[in-house]
C-alpha cells in the first residue's frame, strides 16, 4: 500500500501534534464501511466497475447495517456482471434469490432475472439452479415475467429428476411460450406424455419443442429422436425412420439414430438395410464408439436369413471385441469405486488424448465424453477457469480488499462441486454399461446354444418381424426410394469412404429352405 504523504514528518519530528497523528491514522486505516458503499455508488455511476466491485465488497464484508449488506450484495453482483464475470456475479445473485421474496429482500425479483440472463449466456449448471429454486414455494406472482421461464423450467426439471412427473408437467406448462426455456419445457412434456402412453400428445409436444423459436440443436435433435422412438413404439416404422434420418451426420447422436433405425428396419424385415447400417457402425471410423448390441442385431438378422455361418461369425466378433472391454471396465469400476469424483478427470484425460490405460474401455469413455454428465461440468470448468484466469491477470486490484480471493474460492468450489456431481453420474453410467455388456454377453450364449440345439425356427418366430411395410424399398441414408429419383451406386470393395457411411445397403438373399443349410453344416 502506498504510504500517505506526511508520514515521514510524523516519524522524523518530535513536535508532531496529536491532531496530525490522528489524521495519519485516518489515512492509513481502512475506510469505514459506509464510505465504501458511497464510494462504490459513485464509481458505479462513473462506470468504473473494477473500483466499484472492490468498494462494494468492502461494504458487503463489513456492513454498517444489514440493509447496507443487501444493497452492497446487489451492487457487487451488478458490477461483476458488467465486467463479464458472470459466474462470479451469480454467487451474489444466488444468495439474494435463496433468501426468497421477503420484504427485507428487495432485489429478489431482479436477481432472479439476472440469473436467468446469466444462465442464457454461460450455463450455470442444472445442479446449481435446482439447488436455488428447490421446493418452488414462491408464489407465481412473485416471479418476474422475464424470469418465469427460467424459474418454472428448473423447478420442473428438479421434479422430473425426482420422477415426480405430474408435478414436473405442471411446472413445465407454466413456462411462457416466449421464453428461451419453452422449447426444453415442451420437450420434457413430450417425454412425460410418452411415459403416460399418450403417444399423439407426446409427438405434438416434441413437434412444438423442435419448432419453438428458442430451440437449439440439442432440443431439435432430441425431439427428432424421441418422435422417431414414439413412432417405433407404435410400430409406425416408416415414420420412425423419417425422423431418425433428420439427425445430422455431424451430430453426436447420428450413430445412435443409425443404430436405432436398424431395429426399425429389422422389424420391417429390411434385412439388407439392417446389415448396411451395422456396416457403418462397425467401420474403422467408429472403432471407439460403443454399440455392442449391433452385433446381437447383426447375428439375429443373419439368423433370419438362415445364414448360420455369419451368425456364428458375428457372435465371435462380439466376443473378440468386447471381452477385453469387459475386463477393463471391471478393473476401472473397482479402481474408481472409492473415488468416483476422479471419473471426470479420467474422461477428461481420455478426451485430451493423455490417457494410456484402460485402452479397451475407451469406447465407453468416448460415450461418456459425449454425455451431458461430462459436457455440463466441462462447460462449468471452462467458464470458471476463464474467470480465475482473468482474476489472476488483474494484479493487485482486488487483492487488498479480499475480493479476488473470495471469488477464486467460490469458483474453485464450483469446479469441485461440478467434478463431484459429474464423477458420480459418470461412474453410474460406466456401471450401467458394464451391466449392459454382461446382459448382451448372456444373450449371445443363448442365441448360439439355441441355434446349435436346433431351436432356430422357434427363435426366428419369436423375433416377430412384421411384413407390413415389405413393399417399400429403402436406399441408404434411411430414405425410402422415390419414383424417378436419380441414384448413385458405389460398390463396397473393402475401402471405407467417410461420405459413404450411413448409405450402405447389403445385397444378400434369404437362404432359408435351401437344402443342407443347417446350423454348423457349412462350418469351414
Amino acid at each position: 500500500m502506498r504510504r500517505p504523504a506526511g508520514t515521514r514528518s510524523l516519524f522524523g519530528s518530535a513536535l508532531q501534534s496529536l491532531g496530525l497523528v490522528s489524521l495519519c491514522l485516518v489515512l492509513i486505516l481502512p475506510q469505514p464501511a459506509m464510505a465504501s458503499y458511497q464510494a462504490a455508488q459513485q464509481l458505479m455511476a462513473r462506470r468504473d466497475y473494477v473500483g466499484a466491485a472492490s468498494e462494494y465488497f468492502q461494504s458487503y464484508s463489513s456492513p454498517k447495517s444489514p440493509q447496507e449488506k443487501i444493497y452492497s450484495e446487489w451492487g457487487l453482483g451488478k458490477s461483476l456482471q458488467a465486467l463479464g464475470f458472470h459466474y462470479s456475479a451469480s454467487k451474489f445473485f444466488s444468495n439474494i434469490v435463496r433468501r426468497g421474496p421477503t420484504g427485507m429482500n428487495p432485489y429478489f425479483r431482479r436477481a432472479l432475472e439476472e440469473l436467468g440472463a446469466i444462465n442464457g449466456t454461460v450455463a450455470l449448471g442444472q445442479s446449481h439452479i435446482v439447488q436455488l429454486v428447490r421446493g418452488g414455494g414462491v408464489a407465481p406472482e412473485n416471479i418476474p415475467g422475464r424470469a418465469r421461464g427460467f424459474y418454472f423450467y428448473y423447478i420442473g426439471a428438479e421434479a422430473f429428476i425426482q420422477q415426480k412427473f405430474e408435478r414436473a408437467g405442471d411446472f413445465f406448462k407454466k413456462v411462457p411460450s416466449g421464453s428461451a426455456y419453452y422449447a426444453k419445457a415442451q420437450f420434457h412434456l413430450g417425454v412425460i406424455a410418452n411415459r403416460a402412453g399418450a403417444h399423439s400428445r407426446a409427438i405434438s409436444y416434441f413437434e412444438a419443442a423442435r419448432s419453438a423459436p428458442g430451440a437449439d440443436a440439442w432440443v431439435r435433435e432430441q425431439a427428432n429422436l424421441n418422435i422417431a422412438r414414439v413412432h417405433y413404439e407404435t410400430k409406425s416404422f416408416t415414420q420412425s425412420l423419417q425422423f431418425y434420418a433428420q439427425i445430422p451426420r455431424e451430430s453426436d447422436n447420428w450413430l445412435q439414430a443409425i443404430f436405432e433405425a436398424s431395429w426399425a428396419f429389422f422389424l420391417m424385415a429390411k434385412h439388407n438395410n439392417v446389415l448396411g447400417n451395422i456396416h457403418t457402425l462397425h467401420s474403422p471410423f467408429f472403432e471407439n464408439r460403443f454399440f455392442p448390441e449391433s452385433y446381437i442385431l447383426q447375428s439375429i438378422t443373419y439368423l433370419r436369413l438362415c445364414r448360420y455361418d455369419e451368425v456364428q461369425n458375428s457372435l465371435e466378433k462380439f466376443r473378440d471385441r468386447y471381452k477385453p472391454v469387459f475386463r477393463d471396465l471391471s478393473a476401472l469400476l473397482r479402481e474408481y469405486s472409492s473415488r468416483k469424483n476422479d471419473m471426470f478427470k479420467l474422461v477428461y484425460d481420455y478426451r485430451n488424448g493423455s490417457l494410456n490405460n484402460y485402452r479397451s474401455a475407451w469406447a465407453i469413455l468416448d460415450q461418456l465424453s459425449r454425455s451431458d454428465a461430462y459436457k455440463e461440468p466441462s462447460r462449468a470448468f471452462r467458464y470458471a477457469d476463464s474467470e480465475i484466469g482473468r482474476l489472476n491477470g488483474m494484479g493487485g486490484k482486488w487483492s487488498s480488499s479480499g475480493l479476488a480471493e473470495d471469488l477464486k474460492d467460490f469458483l474453485n468450489k464450483k469446479k469441485q462441486v461440478a467434478r463431484s456431481d459429474s464423477g458420480e453420474k459418470l461412474y453410474d453410467q460406466t456401471a450401467a454399461a458394464f451391466e449392459y455388456l454382461r446382459t448382451l454377453s448372456n444373450q449371445t450364449k443363448l442365441i448360439q446354444a439355441d441355434m446349435f440345439e436346433g431351436r432356430v425356427d422357434s427363435i426366428r418366430r419369436s423375433l416377430n418381424v412384421t411384413q407390413a411395410n415389405d413393399r417399400k424399398v429403402f436406399i441408404g441414408g434411411l430414405q425410402p426410394l422415390q419414383l424417378d429419383q436419380q441414384l448413385e451406386y458405389w460398390p463396397f470393395m473393402g475401402e471405407y469412404w467417410e461420405d459413404e457411411l450411413g448409405y450402405y445397403v447389403y445385397n444378400l438373399d434369404d437362404k432359408c429352405g435351401m437344402p443342407n443349410n443347417k446350423p454348423g453344416n457349412n462350418k469351414k
Binding site: Q486, L487, E488, Y489, Y503, V505, N507, L508
Partner: protein, 257 residues
C-alpha cells in the same frame, strides 16, 4: 446411372480419368462406362445406394469458356465462348455453342517476315457456332489429401456447325512493295467466310456445388475451305478444297438452372 470412378488421390484420379477417357474414346465401347442399372452391381455384397449428388436430368446448363486454338504455328487465337445445354437424361444432352474471338501474330510470323521476307498464309478463326450432342458415360468422385470430396463427370461431344475464317490477305504483296515493271493486283479487302464444320471432343465437369461446375473441353473442329478464298488474286487462283482441323482447349464454368 453408373457411378464408377473413385480413387483416393487427385493424381491417381487424373491418371485414371485420362486412361478412362482414352479407353472410351478409342473404343467407344459401352462395356466399361455403359449406362448403368442397379443390376450392374448385383455381384457386390455391399453397396452404397443414395440420391445422386448432382442430377442433371431435365436441367438447362449455361456456360462460359475461354477457347484457345492450340494447333497454330504463327498466331494465337482466343475466343470467348458461350454454351447452352439441355440435359435430357443423366447421359444425354443437346448443346449449342457460339464463340467469337481474335488472333494475335506470334513472334515467329513477324520474324519470318522481317528477316526472311517470308509471308505466311494463315487461317484466322474469328468465330464458330455449333450444335451437337453430349454423351456423359462417367460420373465419379475423388478425394483430395485434405479429405475433401470432389464429384465430377466426363463427357464426349460431337456435332456440326459453321466456322468463320477471317482473311486479312496480309501475306499478299502490295503494288507499292514490288519493283517497277512488276505488276501485282491489289490484294482483296479483308473478309470473313464461313465453312461447314464437324466437331468432336471430350471434356470434364468438376462439380463445385449443386449448381456450379468447372468445365474443360478439348475439341477438334474439322472444316473444309476453298483454297481460292485465301488467294491474293482470286480470279486466277485454282479452285481446290482443303481441310483444316482446329484443336481447341476450352476452360470455363457451367451453371445449371
Amino acid at each position: 446411372m453408373v457411378s464408377w470412378f473413385r480413387k483416393n488421390s487427385a493424381v491417381q484420379c487424373v491418371t485414371a480419368t485420362i486412361v478412362a477417357a482414352l479407353c472410351a474414346f478409342c473404343t467407344l465401347s459401352s462395356a466399361i462406362f455403359a449406362a448403368g442399372t442397379p443390376e450392374q452391381f448385383e455381384k457386390y455384397e455391399i453397396r452404397v445406394i443414395r440420391p445422386k449428388y448432382f442430377a442433371k436430368t431435365s436441367r438447362l446448363e449455361t456456360g462460359a469458356q475461354l477457347s484457345v486454338v492450340m494447333n497454330q504455328s504463327f498466331i494465337y487465337t482466343y475466343l470467348a465462348t458461350g454454351l447452352l445445354d439441355y440435359h435430357f437424361s443423366e447421359q444425354w444432352a443437346g448443346e449449342g455453342a457460339f464463340a467469337l474471338g481474335f488472333s494475335i501474330d506470334k513472334d515467329d510470323k513477324r520474324s519470318l517476315k522481317s528477316n526472311f521476307k517470308i509471308q505466311t498464309q494463315i487461317l484466322r478463326t474469328q468465330y464458330f457456332m455449333e450444335g451437337g450432342a453430349l454423351y456423359t458415360p462417367v460420373y465419379g468422385k475423388y478425394q483430395l489429401d485434405s479429405g475433401e470430396l470432389i464429384y465430377l463427370d466426363m463427357f464426349f461431344s460431337a456435332g456440326v456447325g459453321m466456322t468463320g475464317i477471317n482473311y486479312l490477305y496480309d501475306h499478299c504483296p502490295k503494288p507499292s512493295e514490288v519493283g517497277q515493271g512488276n505488276f501485282v493486283p491489289s490484294p482483296p479487302s479483308p473478309t470473313t467466310k464461313a465453312y461447314p464444320t464437324f466437331y468432336t471432343g471430350l471434356g470434364q465437369r468438376i462439380f463445385m456445388d449443386k449448381k456450379l461446375s468447372l468445365r474443360w473441353d478439348v475439341r477438334a473442329h474439322i472444316f473444309g475451305y476453298n483454297v481460292a478464298d485465301a488467294a491474293c488474286d482470286p480470279e486466277t487462283a485454282a479452285k481446290a478444297t482443303n481441310s483444316q482441323t482446329n484443336i481447341t482447349l476450352q476452360l470455363g464454368a457451367g451453371y445449371f438452372l
